[in-house]
Symmetry: C2
């Protein structure tokens, strides 16, 4: 039977695409690495001593928007997911172009809410809505393309990691998972939870915020050896980093050091989920994952809130040391489209 | 009853969006006109004495791909529609980012054909595929975002037209319509038509080519007072130009001068269609519509193939002079999404 794309999944599809792409250097604006950065968070265009950073993300109603997410939140999210890719490169935001596929019977008030969400987040990230088009679609489909700018000497990539580097994240893990699980399984009895806990996790799920300021600060310190966002899940992204560095590095992650808030454990228990999985494979936490040469870590920690979660080695594997001191080798998992 | 977006249609939706957008000038990279260029073919970013040009177009299976269009042709088309917007600004292409929504059961060979079409057209327009992502979608959905570059002194916009200017197009009108009508109505008896005619019109419908080289030449001559592409139809775009120039200009179009090939008349007759409508409102002809100060026209005509179709006046209307010399006032019509 002929192969379907779901037989191989998103990541192998992208690899297949990369293997077909040559590296045409038609003009001086294309960085030598531009094609390589197909596998990075964004593409880089040469502009003197800066890179123009360009990235694109598509959100589809059937895959990305739970019914609890309102149109204002959907508008905010299409901006956030794109800005998060800029953040991972350390770029400042310039503007976003949004192409919309809209159902014909969409209410005008819903359209207005969608636009308000887009514009409010443009305002938040100090960027402009600079273009777009509208089309008719059976389901709400939004593609954002974000443009940003970063000095070449400051840009953060997925490559450049060395054994011995410290691995860190910019914030707590698992809150978005806790929010989605609470929202998507209303039959669970969460009446024991305080309202502020429910609001906290719902906010992380429905109105996540991109770590743009943090990315810009990290880039300006020139302290990181790599950066990416972890919206597809921590373990999945660790696997991507190993790939991007040609399997010459690996990770030793300390389970005890993962910044998993109490709320995540509470909701895991109440809903029969595993807090560790929620924090490492569920995804949707809009935090940055960075690696830092050891001698730069303490100074960086005085400038920005970061959580050390492990070390880089040269194994090509992801090892996790659990609370009892046992080592487990992890197969990268996370949300993967088309699988 | 609450209003739906289909009550007002694409053009008023975009106007509604524009009225909500402020013009935040968060950084020096955003041109003063960037927000205004939401209504132009592309957005402009300040890069010294150049503009980086960015545009985005979404294509959806249900709206844009007739079943006769194969995956290779679909791949080519997502590049062409985006490059056409660069052509309208006079920009050279740098690269394209493509976000894909793919049905889970899509065959891998179809995916490969799609990518081959994308890459072959990237090659044709001397640009690179610089990024993208894949998602699961019930219908094939492709969003391309194209980046280009043009000297500020050469950029072509929709604004800047003056009464007295000559109106021209870069090529024949109605061939794409003839192709689609032939494809979509197989019950029509087109057996009288020669195979090369059928192939010609099918090629215009299924594998259109963007006038990128022509756009670049036009921009470098600095002879045009405006430019846009006419993929939504000639009359529709004339209406857009009147809008963009604050209703201070209008057009007098000579029906006799419209470059409508014999093949369009033949197919119109055989299929019970109106050749004039096919050439002016159907859309999908990837030609450029330009205005040129009269004294520059003859010199420009020696450098590039252009067809004079009328003159600019200050009426705020589109008038068409028919072959008998009668004047009709036209309400701009063309393909409009969501209406």
């Amino acid at each position: 039977m002929p192969s379907k794309i779901s037989d191989i999944g998103e990541k192998l599809l992208i690899k297949r695409l990369l293997s077909k792409s040559k590296n045409p250097r038609y003009n001086s604006f294309l960085d030598y690495n531009s094609i390589k950065s197909l596998s990075d968070d964004a593409a880089l265009i040469n502009i003197g001593d800066h890179y123009l950073v360009a990235c694109s993300d598509m959100l589809l109603q059937s895959t990305h928007f739970p019914k609890e997410m309102d149109f204002y939140q959907i508008g905010k999210k299409i901006v956030t997911v794109n800005v998060s890719d800029l953040a991972a490169m350390g770029a400042e935001a310039i503007g976003i172009i949004i192409s919309m596929g809209l159902p014909k019977n969409m209410l005008l008030t819903d359209f207005d809410d969608l636009i308000d969400g887009i514009l409010d987040n443009c305002n938040k990230y100090e960027m402009a809505l600079i273009g777009g088009d509208t089309n008719e679609s059976s389901q709400l489909t939004l593609t954002g393309t974000c443009l940003g700018i970063v000095k070449k000497k400051n840009v953060m990539m997925k490559t450049g990691i060395h054994p011995g580097d410290i691995v860190a994240v910019t914030g707590p893990l698992g809150l978005a998972a806790a929010g989605f699980i609470t929202l998507l399984n209303p039959c669970h009895d969460i009446s024991h939870l305080k309202e502020n806990v429910i609001n906290l996790v719902k906010k992380h799920a429905l109105e996540p915020e991109a770590k743009l300021k943090e990315g810009i600060i990290l880039a300006k310190t020139n302290s990181t050896s790599s950066a990416t966002d972890i919206t597809d899940g921590l373990f999945s992204e660790l696997g991507e980093l190993i790939d991007a560095n040609n399997n010459k590095i690996g990770f030793i992650i300390s389970q005890e050091d993962l910044p998993i808030p109490k709320e995540v454990f509470d909701i895991a228990k109440l809903t029969g989920n595993n807090a560790m999985d929620m924090a490492t494979t569920y995804g949707e936490d809009f935090e940055l994952l960075i690696t830092i040469p050891t001698h730069l870590f303490n100074n960086l920690k005085t400038q920005i809130s970061i959580y050390k979660i492990g070390l880089v080695d040269s194994s090509g594997e992801i090892k996790i040391i659990d609370k009892k001191g046992n080592t487990n080798i992890i197969t990268p998992q996370g949300y993967e489209h088309l699988k």
